[in-house]
Symmetry: C2
Subunit: 402 residues, 2 copies
């Protein structure tokens, strides 16, 4: 399905207001509190990090979204509110209480997220003043401001929105994301927020979100780590006026396709903005024996520092691709496997294929590179997006905390 992309991000759907203001949480100045508010109560769902260690704001968010209802999202950047003990959870509750009081809703309808350095208490006086300012700044044009306020080492904001017809009603779904790396423990890290004016139950919304995240945000990799604050949240306020989207309906298919479109768009933007990244690399596994073999091989190739460094060096190093797949646990026959980068076939039937180094160099200079690893031995595919591993990654991460 092809979707029309529109401006406005998370405030493109009817009834959503947002703001992004500077509260002094970040060491360097810059917006660090994002507030998102729906004029009417929303069906809500979330997907959270699988890390055993979780941030305090995330813990409260998970508790508050459990009943499938929410109306407000608060995110601060610059401090992850993680690993500081019970007081961190109390701070998250204080934030939810304050947001609820100002906005006239119940604290249980506020979803909280934090991203930044871990192990430091939130500066609650600045946060409190920031919430007041952020609430005053809420506007139907504030999506981009909120998007900028959740950034950490991101080098550009990531937002998009699409419009589509559902039963004769114009419906809009928008999203923002932050993360310069899927997964950065210390930066505590990938956050995605999606809003829509579609009318859908929280159960069905959760099902759609889990499935969509599985093929977008969970299919990107910058460095293979997972953070304590990763989350993707979705709010649906039903204000488009359209009929309720029901399970198995044609409308669900359209809605789900729109959600996939926005999720994949944001996920690819996160991978492309991986710390120090100079290229977005798409790893495609084709004709694997099982979905698990396809997923394992794609992930292993995308995570291999040797593969990623070779792309930084613009080196057509198919040997590293083959051996990363070979050690992934995926079952395949190397003698039936074909590896190509863009249009260039490098390896086939267990043997290196001579290729034109100039042509390879030309392909590898692109910012977007497609790798296809065809196992020639089954019917299953998978795709993972990653970035190259450069000196920039070392620079950013060698001294992040201090």
């Amino acid at each position: 399905m092809i979707f029309n992309e529109i401006m406005g991000g998370i405030t493109a759907p009817i009834g959503f207001l947002a703001s992004g203001i500077s509260a002094g949480v970040k060491k360097k100045n810059g917006p660090d509190i994002a507030l998102i508010f729906s004029e009417s109560p929303c069906a809500a769902a979330g997907v959270f990090t699988k890390n055993i260690v979780t941030g305090h704001s995330l813990d409260l968010c998970r508790a508050n979204v459990a009943n499938g209802c929410a109306q407000c999202i608060f995110i601060n950047s610059g401090n992850a509110n993680a690993c500081i003990g019970q007081s961190g959870y109390e701070d998250a509750r204080t934030i939810a209480n304050q947001c609820a009081g100002i906005l006239g809703i119940t604290p249980g309808d506020v979803l909280t997220g934090s991203t930044g350095v871990i192990g430091h208490p939130l500066p609650m006086d600045r946060i409190s003043a920031g919430i007041t300012n952020a609430a005053a700044a809420l506007s139907a044009e504030g999506g981009s401001d909120a998007c900028r306020a959740i950034m950490t080492t991101d080098t550009y904001p990531k937002e998009t929105a699409v419009e589509f017809d559902l039963g004769g009603f114009r419906t809009v779904l928008g999203g923002i994301a932050k993360g310069s790396g899927m997964i950065h423990p210390d930066m505590a890290t990938m956050i995605g927020i999606i809003t829509t004016d579609a009318f859908i139950s929280s159960e069905l919304l959760k099902k759609a979100l889990i499935d969509s995240v599985g093929k977008s945000f969970n299919k990107i990799s910058v460095d293979g780590d997972t953070s304590v604050c990763d989350m993707v949240l979705i709010l649906a306020n039903g204000m488009s006026g359209g009929p309720e989207i029901t399970k198995g309906s044609k409308e669900y298919d359209v809605f789900k396709a729109a959600l996939d479109h926005v999720s994949v768009h944001l996920a690819k933007a996160v991978a492309a903005d991986g710390e120090g990244a100079t290229k977005l690399i798409e790893i495609n596994i084709r004709n694997a024996r099982t979905p698990i073999d396809a997923a394992r091989a794609a992930k292993a190739v995308a995570n291999s520092p040797l593969v990623k460094t070779a792309f930084f060096g613009e080196d057509a190093n198919w040997g590293r691709i083959l051996t990363a797949a070979g050690s992934s646990g995926a079952v395949f026959d190397p003698n039936a496997t074909t590896i190509s980068i863009g249009p260039l076939v490098l390896y086939q039937n267990g043997t290196a294929i001579p290729f034109d180094e100039d042509e390879a160099a030309c392909i590898l200079k692109n910012k977007n590179i497609e790798v296809v690893i065809d196992f020639g031995d089954g019917a299953f595919s998978d795709t993972v997006w990653t970035c190259d591993l450069s000196h920039g990654y070392i620079d950013i991460n060698a001294n992040y905390r201090t």
Copy 2:
């Protein structure tokens, strides 16, 4: 058990000759053929890569060591003899035949290994001339030459030997290793060779080797990839004159401890010489609920690019250590966990512990750093050695092939 380290490496045990010569396989000049020969037949055992893709020389080696007998090891560096189709296996057989002919043994007693770039046929004319020269150069003082001839991006040779008493007979066990990274697909990579004049059956030798490799070479990590040519070989020629080492005997315990000593020594040397490494980092998991939890957590921390980059930056970033463990699949209670770097406790009972940044900086300037992650919730431990991730790694790997 404390062992006396002696000079001589793999030619320190009685009856072993070795040589390392330059045959012109490497692009840059330098020794690239190592030949190791025992004056009498040996019990032999090997441990090989688990990668699905395997090199042709390794395939022949695995076949030839299967009967537990060998007398000669041939290794070339500069070309991995991998992924070039059936002719690669034929080349390995030609090498074994030539070595056997010159040395007066059967081809099945020659173990072959290759390490270097994959996807290029071996230059068999140069290899053939090289074998003749290497055989002529065999000497009881040649261990170090052989050690240098198996190096690729290693920045220093890795060899050691120990002597010990077995039933009143002086017994010696020596070893060499190469690998600048456990595991470098394209460099096809970690090779370890151990020789001893102890008298032991090939069955018991294999058991000892597998166990010893499990706590040494399989406990180091440079970048988490595994190569198509990884192998550790051991030859025991029984020429010390001592009695046969039998299962469950006191002599076996001593022999096994000597083997562990040499294996761990070589493994740590490989990790410390990881590509671009400036530090050797020992990750210790303590008091885990199960051995699997301990192993998973240790490996995940050792493999985390964020953790490794923080050590390069000499940054006491316990948050990355905790979250890497948290996403490893290991089950533990973050609130019962303590993390320390050297003598400095950084995290305890779910909370960051304030520490002196100057003291931390002082500890992190060391070349050898010990990290302890105590889960405080069980009786199992594990140790993995890794290195930091630096600009040097990017430089070495961005353009290795071309």
